[in-house]
């Protein structure tokens, strides 16, 4: 397969396969969680479970004081790469062009030079996260193969995107193809790995917050 055919494949069939697995996977995971159900709570409520759920869905994005004091580096690193990823995905002009193609509408992007800087910062934050995972006694202890796999498939789209933008290493069609392929790998793995947290954390916070709200605790 030459580079043009490769690019055409990742843009066509490859993308369709990836998207298909992603969508089916998401449905499967959704069912896996909700089919398990939850028992009715007969205890007399002290507060509102619904309000608790909504509160925690938002409030848990901000660390409480003692956690912040004890885990600053971890928290800042996490914030930086999450916000960075979100900005790059949503506000890089070529990405918006793609969204417009699929969704029928788009929005204003950030200047390429700005996104370029964000990409560098994000990759740096991810590298810090990796070093910490390898060095911090707790993180090293609890980490599994999947943690490193997910790190890799998150880092690769950034790296290949950065290389494509700066025309580094490979011919443009090849590196662009690799970039798209890396995103497809991410899509395929998303429902079946901890990447899924991007969706399920809202469910988790909701359940936790509902329990707390029912008891009159602000979680």
């Amino acid at each position: 397969m030459n580079e043009v055919a490769f690019l055409a494949w990742v843009r066509g069939i490859g993308f369709q396969i990836a998207l298909g697995i992603f969508i089916v996977g998401m449905v499967v995971r959704w069912l896996e969680i909700f089919l398990l159900g939850k028992k009715h709570d007969y205890s007399a409520p002290k507060g509102s479970a619904v309000q608790g759920a909504i509160h925690t869905i938002f409030s848990r994005s901000i660390p409480e004081k003692s956690t912040w004091q004890r885990s600053r580096v971890q928290i800042v690193t996490g914030y930086v790469f999450h916000v960075g990823l979100l900005l790059i995905i949503l506000f890089l002009t070529p990405h918006i062009t793609l969204f417009r193609e699929f969704l029928g509408f788009g929005w204003a992007g950030l200047p390429n030079s700005v996104v370029d800087l964000i990409a560098v910062i994000t990759m740096f934050a991810l590298l810090v996260a990796l070093v910490r995972r390898l060095q911090d006694p707790v993180l090293r202890f609890i980490s599994t193969f999947q943690d490193y796999l997910v790190w890799t498939v998150t880092f690769l789209p950034l790296l290949t995107g950065y290389m494509a933008y700066h025309h580094l290493g490979f011919s443009y069609p090849t590196i662009l193809g690799l970039h798209i392929l890396s995103v497809e790998i991410l899509l395929v793995l998303f429902p079946f790995t901890k990447l899924m947290h991007a969706i399920t954390l809202f469910i988790a916070r909701g359940f936790n917050g509902a329990t707390a709200g029912h008891k009159g605790v602000q979680a």
Binding site: V28, A44, K46, E64, Q74, N208
Partner: protein
């Protein structure tokens, strides 16, 4: 707890898994922030005490039983099934180093209620026969004798006589139609009889009817702590039957954290029906009486005091403002510890840990957290509202050579009640 076996344990774990647990495990990113929320980690710096690690057996069962990926991994031989030795090895994490304090549940950035999961994981441990001996015998005593510490009604009766003789107050027993049915923890009967005397004073002062029940005076629930719904249900049902039989309006949980969780939150679910009576912690009752103007106090404690929040009351029970409002009416120099209230640190021996012999050294070690919290504010007295916290604080202070009186809030309030008829009886 008889006929425990690995397969029963496995089935129990499997049966515990619900949608929240599936969402929690799906969301964990191994960020490790829960470690710093747990005093067993912060005081030892040993990664094995990271809360999410304590859930590995339950996570394995979830992945292998309830996820497509888990099934595939097992099919390709990429994962090992849970085995009995693993559960045995995890006793140290699931029991000895977890008080179900719930701090990790408030810290986890993806919102995982880890404490909820560990509570459920214990169900599997009991069914598999891997609960700690100390807790098993406490649970057995609770079922057969009626109290985890083996306290029988005659012991309480003797105490009642004492109180009635000393104070001239009546301690009603089996009074049908009383407004409040009061329960106790064995710890209070054995070590802190001041509590019952305080109740007699308070209810007399407030003009409320109350009663004890000779067949159901023990409120602590070893079933909740060890993780056996069957035992928990049996113990709860004794209280529920008594409250129904005596037709009381409110069942009052004593100065105890887990007793409150057992009867206030898990109780109705264990019985599978809503209660026909109200359940309140004694602090909630006192605060209500205070707000109604039925709790008139006089004189102020001058010692520098702080309040140690029992975990089950703040984080798992929402009793946060009550003790503060109450304490401020009788204490001039009330100061808060850092992280007080919702984020307060556990005493280190709740959730049954105090009953586990192998955990003794560890619980003393992690008490350093409380020592650090208290050293920072230089108080002279600690007030709390849980007999188990209280004994742990007392033992901890002894181990760390600290002279520090520990008081129960209820008795402190009782000491300051305006005597009837209003005589000027200034309290020191």
């Amino acid at each position: 707890m008889s006929n425990a076996s690995f397969s029963r344990g496995y089935q129990a774990l499997k049966a515990q898994i619900d949608a929240p647990i599936a969402a929690y495990f799906s969301s964990c990113v191994h960020c490790g922030l829960c470690a710093e929320a747990c005093l067993f980690f912060t005081e030892t710096r040993d990664p094995k005490y990271t809360p999410i690690h304590k859930l590995e057996p339950l996570r394995k069962v979830w992945e292998q039983e309830y996820t497509l990926v888990g099934k595939l991994k097992a099919w390709f031989g990429l994962s090992t099934p849970l085995h009995d030795q693993e559960l045995a090895d995890w006793q140290e994490f699931i029991y000895n180093s977890c008080t179900l304090c719930g701090r990790c549940s408030l810290v986890c950035p993806v919102g995982n209620d880890l404490s909820y999961m560990i509570r459920k994981e214990r169900e599997g441990m009991v069914a598999a026969g891997h609960a700690p001996d100390g807790q098993i015998s406490a649970a057995k005593r609770a079922i057969t004798v009626g109290s985890p510490m083996g306290v029988k009604f005659p012991a309480l009766q003797a105490q009642i006589k004492h109180i009635e003789k000393d104070t001239g107050f009546i301690v009603p027993v089996n009074q049908v139609g009383a407004e409040y049915m009061v329960t106790l923890s064995s710890m209070e009967i054995m070590n802190y009889p001041e509590y019952l005397e305080a109740l007699a004073r308070i209810f007399k002062h407030a003009g409320k009817t109350w009663t004890l029940c000779s067949e159901a005076f023990e409120a602590t629930n070893t079933g909740i702590q060890i993780g056996s719904s069957d035992i928990a249900r049996e113990l709860v049902s004794r209280l529920v039957n008594a409250a129904e039989r005596l037709q009381v309006k409110t069942l009052v949980s004593p100065e105890c954290g887990h007793a409150y969780t057992a009867i206030r939150w898990e109780g109705a679910n264990l019985m599978g029906k809503a209660f026909t009576f109200k359940v309140q912690h004694i602090l909630e009752v006192l605060e209500e009486l205070r707000q109604q103007g039925k709790l008139k106090t006089e004189g102020l404690e001058t010692a520098r005091m702080t309040f140690h929040d029992p975990c089950q009351l703040v984080r798992r029970g929402g009793v946060i403002d009550e003790p503060r409002n109450l304490l401020k009416t009788v204490a001039q120099n009330f100061v808060e510890m850092e992280d007080a209230g919702k984020m307060n640190w556990c005493c280190g021996a709740g959730g049954g840990v105090g009953a586990i012999e192998q955990a003794h050294e560890l619980k003393t070690r992690v008490f350093q957290r409380k020592i650090s919290q208290l050293d920072a504010i230089k108080v002279e007295t600690v007030v709390t509202a849980c007999a188990n916290c209280r004994i742990t604080l007392e033992e901890g202070f002894e181990a760390y050579n600290r002279e520090m009186p520990v008081l129960g809030l209820t008795e402190l309030i009782a000491q300051h009640l305006v005597e009837e008829p209003a005589t000027e009886n200034a309290h020191e």
